[in-house]
Amino acid sequence: MSTPAGATTRPLAVGDTRTRRLHGWGAWLAAVMMVLLLPHVIRTPVAVPVMNQMGIAIVFALSYNMLLGQGGMLSFGHAVYFGLGGFVAAHALNQAGHGAWWLPLPLVPLVGGLGGLVFAALFGSFSTVRAGTVFAMISLGIAELMAASSLIFNKFFGGEEGITANRTKAPVVFGLSFTTDREVYYLIVAWALAATALMYAFSRTPVGRMANAVRDNPERAEFVGYSARWIRYVTFSAAGFFAGVAGGLFAANYEILTAENMGLNASGGVLLMTYIGGIGYFMGPVVGAIVFTFLQSMLSDYTDVWLLYLGIVFLATVLFVPMGLTGILVMHGAAWRARRLGRLAGPYVVTALAVAVAALGIVGLVEMLHVLVSAPPSRSTRRLFWALVNVRTIAPWILFSAIAAAGALGLRWTLPRAAAAFADASRPGPAQ
């Protein structure tokens, strides 16, 4: 977004943009190699399903950020296009299974995308008239409309059970039958990479650039000669298409879609992950989707109240780091270019340690409280981190309170030092 302070002071060499472009291609290539090798490196059985989920979430979150980050449109109903695209894809897959038409599985996400595009073009025609709060309210209204409609139109939405599909019944191409999760993983990777590249390309087109202008100053964009409404409409439709692609991938992966997939909670989830990742950067939603899905699948194994932690993390992000996780990374660009990143290691490790201690204490207290409140009276122990804890005795409460307090005190001491170290490292000029 903005140029870090350190960058402007360095004189631009002639070959500079070219090397940077090469770096960019290198980063893409490295990312592709990594995702292709990942299933062979991580060999736990849960890894592939989780990575499938991540791939779908990445496409979905990126499409959401086309609205929020690039177009400045806050939507509370983006899952509508994800879900509708998914339902269309599931129906198409079923028809293909019956032999109604020839549709191999790799093309199903495209069908989902077209489904999302059609509905986005329909609803966008009136919801993109205005931006801001009006747009947010209409998106909420449409989400509620769809949630209510899903209970009425049983043929399309399948009622409570949803629509099930069978991906192995689709016609086989290139000998790909998609019977294992790993085969689906490569399908998702291919589609996620294609969608990411396309969405990046979209952000570079004149429409994508004008979407930024309309976000920041619609009046001025109109004076330059662009229709703010048309720009918003095009962006909205494109976002609907990619949300539909994600929905189609979902249908191919899980082989079931229910009305829940397009409900308010799903829309809220994509807002959460995009915002935590950072809405100001193209790669922000990718980071957010990976972190969110990882937390979701890991935390939910260990605790019932993971959504509570997630809510706290989200609020903390909005309050203290509105630029998101990616923003924190990008902030360190100046220090990186000045080759002073190493100096930050010490203060950062100490701060991270303090954060970990504070989190340990708080999580311990919350979990004990959870047992005390919601477990049957006969149960009084809970395995916490390393030990079996009896929540009906006073000792663990004192212990975890002390840990939390120690962490908080430590943070008060280390945070200013880390901030000072950061300011020192990002300062322009030669190393001292």
Binding site: L145, L308, V318, S374
Partner: protein, 316 residues
């Protein structure tokens, strides 16, 4: 038929006035700060659950007084510590922040009270039929709800238009700079208004808990409808909120009671839609089934046709 109409109107009025209890606070907050408080229904839920606990421990009368105060203080705290901080990042950030608060409140409620719905009894001293009409009785508790809502409207109206404090609030709405010049602490006025709005939501929660049910999804059920109410009524307009609440309450109650469908109506006129197929499915949908959709259809239509709402003076 008359019986149906009268009772639908009465029940619609009760439900509508309940909606008004929620939307009055929300519309005040919006009028003041331009913030659509997504967490408003969350405070309503918090009020219902706190009301449940206090009623169990002490009594309904105490809950009616204590819970709104507690919820109001919590709301003021959220404004002071959170909303004021994100204010400089703009309206979208504020909206996202209140959305986060809403998520957190839902989680906290589930954490503290568990997922299953709570059975909240109507207090014994209000649990009797007030009068009988067409062989059906009208419960006293509904009359009590009516009375509280009306009292609330009168209270707000008098405060806002007839007292000095109300004048300052109204002036802070339109001329915050001038009010600050005159020596009033405008941010504190905002905090107080936010707290009062949340307290009203808490009160609505205590009162509605026994009737509409106390469960973790209750905020979501009413939350969106309350938005519909204040958008239709015109953001920031108290009278508009009252009218829109009653309108939506009555429309929904009457629609639920109507068991007719387009297909049925057409069939009685001799037009068939054919068995099976999408048209048939569309035709066989009854008015009662689309009742939950109606408010949102109204919302979308109003936002397209008249973005200021019925009584609003400005766009959002």
């Amino acid at each position: 038929m008359l019986e149906l109409v009268v009772f639908s109107l009465l029940n619609g009025l009760v439900f509508g006035l309940l909606l008004f209890m929620l939307s009055s606070g929300l519309t005040l907050i919006f009028g003041m700060m331009g913030v659509l408080n997504f967490a408003h229904a969350g405070f309503y839920m918090l009020g219902a659950y706190l009301g449940f606990s206090v009623t169990q421990q002490v009594g309904f009368g105490t809950a009616l007084v204590v819970v709104p105060v507690v919820v109001g203080l919590l709301g003021a705290l959220v404004e002071r510590q959170g909303l004021r901080r994100v204010h400089r990042f703009g309206h979208v950030a504020e909206l996202i922040f209140t959305f986060g608060v809403a998520v957190l409140i839902t989680e906290i409620v589930q954490f503290a009270w568990g997922r299953p719905a709570k059975r909240v009894e109507i207090p014994a001293f209000l649990d009797f039929p007030l009068f009988r009409l067409f062989n059906a009785s009208f419960p006293a508790y509904k009359a009590f709800m009516l009375a509280v809502s009306v009292a609330m409207f009168v209270f707000l109206f008098v405060i806002l238009t007839r007292t000095r404090a109300g004048l300052i609030i109204q002036a802070s709405l339109t001329h915050p700079g001038m009010v600050a010049m005159l020596g009033h602490n405008v941010p504190r006025v905002f905090m107080i208004v936010f707290g009062i709005g949340c307290a009203l939501a808490g009160l609505a929660g205590v009162i509605a808990g026994p009737v509409l049910g106390t469960f973790p999804g209750m905020a979501q059920v009413l939350g969106s409808i309350v938005f519909v109410v204040i958008v239709i009524g015109g953001l920031g307009s108290l009278g508009g909120a009252l009218l829109a609440s009653i309108l939506i309450g009555i429309v929904q109650t009457i629609a639920v009671a109507l068991d007719v469908s387009i297909g049925g109506a057409l069939a009685s006129m001799g037009i068939g839609l054919g068995a099976g197929g999408l048209l048939h499915e569309l035709g066989s949908v009854t008015v009662a089934q689309i009742a939950p959709i109606l408010p949102y259809v109204m919302l979308v239509v109003i936002l397209i046709v008249r973005p200021t709402g019925l009584f609003g003076t400005r766009e959002t």
